[in-house]
Symmetry: C2
Subunit: 398 residues, 2 copies
């Protein structure tokens, strides 16, 4: 029986994790949950799973939840709140495996503390590796515990890496759907609307990650994550556009063999893989291999998608640069979603912030959070200075 | 330093093995060679590699070679001959690794003896698994030594299997180029010429294997080999047509993940893999992953290619049936190459022989060879009874 904590239990990955736990009641026990502000969803999860502890973001919400659980006769469930509450969930003594799925830098501290407490961590939070990857991977190595990626690309890489030893890896190939603008001419990028950018061809995801997929910044983040998770220099992590997103990623070995992983596009599969690693257990998530017909590939166009180039540059510099990359991107994407900047201005804003960021090493999560806040402040200030709102033309192309 | 014996050193796999050894002089020592009747080639190999022992098929050839080597001042090289000579090469005390690459049943006994002598065996000979797979794999298990496949498909499977444990494998997917008649209508099969059938789209190989690729019998043999090598029932080994032959094969795991292997189509790669397993060492055989554009797949058509169906039936029956399958195919293909039967008669002849073969278990290599001879005799007799020579029309289609 594996005893599980979920950081971000009411989000998409959190709910998928619970659905995996539901399918294998003899294997997984849900011990601790950290939700955000969705009190009703948290209440339902507590009633269904009877965790030993549950955390909400706000104290008032925690108080309300405690009362409702008491009425249900579930007063034995400890209700906590805030950053300390999330850390309590992440480091609970009764937990073996922590699913880190809180979006944004909010998940950093608790994830780091989970690793420090010797938990096996399944990583679905991008910032853990993009902003604090050096710290978190170093701590995992110290603890001798694996960091297991819960996203289709790095999970695929993790699987392919089993085909050899780390020193036998020549290169990692991350596949990218290419996003909705793969075949859109660069000259039309200025007029891309929010609606168009939110229309991702293969995955249904949150707004920011969908925009990040359209700019290829998401793939850039994944390059950085792969560098940190698998201890590879950025020059050995390449991106290959693969519109069907069937092959999730590949590993090229020094002898010239390449292993590729594919499966249905269902997040429950990498979750199940991480939860059961090094075992594999039967699932109903079958890819119809016999129905395979065509797979297409092409190289990414860094001129059309400068965000990918910026991510490689930040990956090379490391430290505060990748923190700034993430922070600036979050601010720029929010501005795009609000109609305050054009689609093609997203990389411009990020490049501006990066150019003002010194590539210092960050020795603690606190320093990471400070660097993050500083980059955000600077990005927002630059946006204000522009003093203009550019609304994309809504129907510029079909 | 790995000390190597090659059974079939002057053939294509033998020469590729020597070229691998040439590229890594610090890793591999050529200790023993078994050639067939190519005395000049054997002489050159002996002069270049100074093996401790070399074997030829005929006694007269061995005598001649001994004389020539003496003149070169290489009289320390022991020259032997015949089946006993091949066994001597395969079981030489100074050998760690035996490359089994003699074509046909001639390689069976020596390969079996190599396994019995506790050598690690790299298998390139199809008959070892198709005709004597049960015996040879059982002996390898007894010895606790790996049997390492040296052909692109099973080598790919071997690599993909590293992604999990054997009991976690749901299915093996062997890819098939589909041969030159993938898109030829069934109605044209009667008029396929030898020249057309010898024109394989992706691999340059010997005549019999090229015809076997055109009938898909080669893939059928590979299904049987996979069953024996990886201890899978025929129902769990599937074939997927993949005209580019880029992906060499795939393994589907119980959790729904599929691993696929690809590389350049160069036999030196599986040879290197087998020779260095469980290590991987750097090679110059790089697949240009970034140039990947399109991969196509479709299911095999068992009505158009009855040989594949016959192979599955023989695999289910096991024992003497797979021996007969191989023997009957060899006779039928030779008859087709000689213009004695039509392309579409190849499966008819094989099916006829199979229907007369009892599915008895074979307990020794001797019994395998007897069953092989009997099936051959019967197949040849049936061909004679036909008392007719059908010459395919040479220009029936472009």
């Amino acid at each position: 029986m594996k005893r599980i904590a979920i950081l971000g239990s009411t989000g998409s990955i959190g709910r998928s994790t619970l659905s995996v736990a539901e399918a294998y009641p003899d294997r997984f026990e849900i011990v601790a949950l950290a939700a955000g502000s969705k009190v009703d969803a948290a209440f339902e999860q507590a009633c269904r799973w009877h965790p030993r502890v549950i955390s909400l973001a706000a104290e008032a919400d925690a108080d309300a939840l405690r009362l409702r659980l008491k009425k249900e006769g579930l007063s034995q469930i400890e209700v906590v709140h805030g950053a300390a509450g999330t850390v309590r969930v992440a480091t609970h003594l009764g937990v073996d495996f922590v699913v880190s799925a809180i979006v944004g830098v909010a998940g950093l501290e608790a994830t780091y503390e989970a690793v420090r407490a010797g938990k096996i961590v399944g990583l679905a939070n991008k910032e853990c590796l993009v902003a604090a990857g050096e710290l978190i991977t170093a701590e995992a190595r110290r603890q001798g515990k694996p960091l297991l990626p819960i996203d289709s690309e790095h999970n695929a890489v993790h699987q392919c890496l089993r085909g050899g030893r780390m020193e036998e890896v020549e290169r990692i190939w991350l596949t990218a759907s290419g996003g909705p603008f793969l075949n859109t001419p660069r000259s039309d990028f200025a007029s891309i609307t929010v609606e168009q950018a939110l229309n991702h061809p293969t995955w249904k995801m949150g707004q920011r990650i969908t925009i990040d997929s359209a700019t290829l910044m998401n793939k850039g983040f994944e390059v950085i994550e792969a560098c940190r998770l698998f201890h590879m220099p950025p020059g050995k992590v390449e991106v290959l556009v693969h519109p069907q997103s069937t092959i999730h990623s590949m590993v090229e070995f020094v002898d010239g063999s390449i292993l590729a992983q594919f499966s249905v596009t269902d997040m429950r599969l990498p979750i199940l893989y991480a939860l059961t690693y090094p075992e594999r257990i039967p699932s109903d998530m079958r890819f119809p291999v016999g129905d395979l017909r065509h797979l297409d590939f092409c190289p990414p166009d860094m001129n059309k998608f400068p965000c990918l180039r910026l991510a490689y540059e930040a990956a090379e510099a490391g430290g505060a640069k990748t923190v700034a990359l993430n922070a600036a991107d979050e601010v720029a994407v929010a501005a795009f979603l609000a109609g305050a900047v054009r689609f093609d201005e997203i990389p411009t804003i990020i490049e501006d912030v990066l150019s003002r960021t010194n590539s210092v090493e960050l020795g603690s999560i606190k320093q990471v959070l400070e660097a993050d806040a500083e980059a955000r402040r600077y990005a927002e200030q630059r946006l204000l200075e522009r003093k203009r709102v550019v609304r994309p033309r809504a129907t510029s192309f079909a």
